[in-house]
């Protein structure tokens, strides 16, 4: 019966409510990225690559760290030079300065310029990887856009997430950016050669990391002097040998 006048002309009445329906979706917003990341992970594994997603604020020394790792690998460390050959995918909003820097050290490197995007996504990494000769190295470092917020949500298909902070940024960085640090397997404190000059309180910094990221291995390094790089390489070598399992690092 019609609700307006009680007539029987139901067919003429448009009942908005009856045409409204709820559709349950329950799908992750980043499903597409997650799927591509998983494909990347399988692909990189089939290529025998150990893949690192390297994250930090702008200017913490991501590129400098990679350069120093390369130097340490080349300089006399026979044990490492056989085992590590680095390749890099580097993301920035603009310029290919970082890729050029790395290439000048004879590191195979490809630059992703994201335009205005604040993070790398799995499809960008996949495309960039196609530009590299993946047979020429075994450690792929993805140097993410300098940002401690947005990249945390995007799985790229990496085996390990390394979050880098430098002594000039303060001891409480992990407390300020918990989401990013909670996703790290390794936390590196860089620029320790400057610690004294900037009154860096080491103990406080070291204590803050496990409060936020109890799972993370901590390394203190200087990309400038090379201090601490050997320990890092030794640890990465163990990771390589133990052949990380194929799991997602962003969804758990």
């Amino acid at each position: 019966m019609c609700q307006n006048c009680g007539c029987n002309a139901m067919n003429n009445i448009v009942d908005v409510n009856s045409l409204t329906q709820k559709i349950e979706i329950n799908q992750r917003i980043l499903t597409k990225n997650d799927r591509l990341a998983l494909q990347n992970r399988h692909f990189f594994k089939s290529q025998g690559l150990l893949v690192i997603n390297l994250l930090s604020s702008p200017g913490s020394g991501k590129t400098a760290l990679i350069e120093r790792m390369q130097i340490e690998i080349e300089q006399g460390l026979q044990e490492y030079s056989d085992r590590f050959k680095i390749g890099v995918i580097v993301g920035d909003l603009a310029t290919d300065n970082d890729a050029q820097r790395l290439q000048s050290r004879k590191i195979p490197a490809v630059q992703i310029t994201t335009g205005n995007a604040c993070h790398l996504e799995a499809n960008m990494v996949r495309k960039a990887a196609q530009k590299l000769d993946l047979d020429s190295f075994n450690l792929l470092i993805i140097e993410n856009v300098g940002n401690l917020v947005c990249p945390a949500a995007y799985d790229l298909g990496e085996d390990l997430r390394i979050v880098l902070l430098s002594v000039t940024e303060g001891e409480d960085k992990p407390l300020k950016y918990p989401t990013m640090f909670k996703s790290a397997q390794i936390v590196i404190i860089n620029k320790i050669d400057l610690a004294e000059a900037v009154d860096f309180e080491r103990d406080k910094a070291i204590a803050n990391i496990p409060k936020i990221a109890p799972q993370a291995q901590i390394f203190e390094v200087s990309a400038k002097t090379g201090q601490g790089i050997k320990s890092l390489l030794t640890y990465l070598n163990c990771c390589k040998i133990s052949s990380p399992s194929i799991t997602s690092s962003s969804s758990s």
Partner: protein, 114 residues
């Protein structure tokens, strides 16, 4: 500002579902956003307003359900909701990295009409 691209993904999903169901209008989107997702609800709302313009979701409502962080303490064999960014078990004070929920970034449902 990754909220903009996330909202675009969300709208793409919602509009595709609406069209599959022969709907002509999206009335309501419901999202589950974990407190540990790294996404700011206000930024999602702003992106939503801008990105829905000129689509079948224009003037739709956006409902964001905030999902609290829940951790598991292995020592006590229990789940707990941490009170701060340091995920210390309230019983034994041990810090947990085992996050059971709070990372959600989901489109839960849409209400559509035709």
């Amino acid at each position: 500002m990754h909220e903009v691209s996330m909202m675009q993904n969300t709208l793409d999903l919602a509009i595709a579902q609406a069209k599959q169901n022969n709907a002509t209008k999206v009335e309501l989107l419901t999202m589950n956003i974990g407190e540990l997702s790294g996404v700011i609800p206000e930024a999602l709302e702003f992106a939503f307003e801008v990105l829905t313009q000129g689509t079948i979701a224009e003037n739709a409502q956006l409902e964001i359900k905030s999902i609290p962080v829940v951790c598991y303490c292995q020592k006590c064999d229990r789940d707990f909701q941490p009170e701060a960014d340091i995920f210390a078990c309230p019983q034994c004070q041990q810090i947990s990295s085992n996050v059971i929920s709070g990372r959600e970034l989901e489109l839960a449902s849409v209400v559509v009409s035709s």
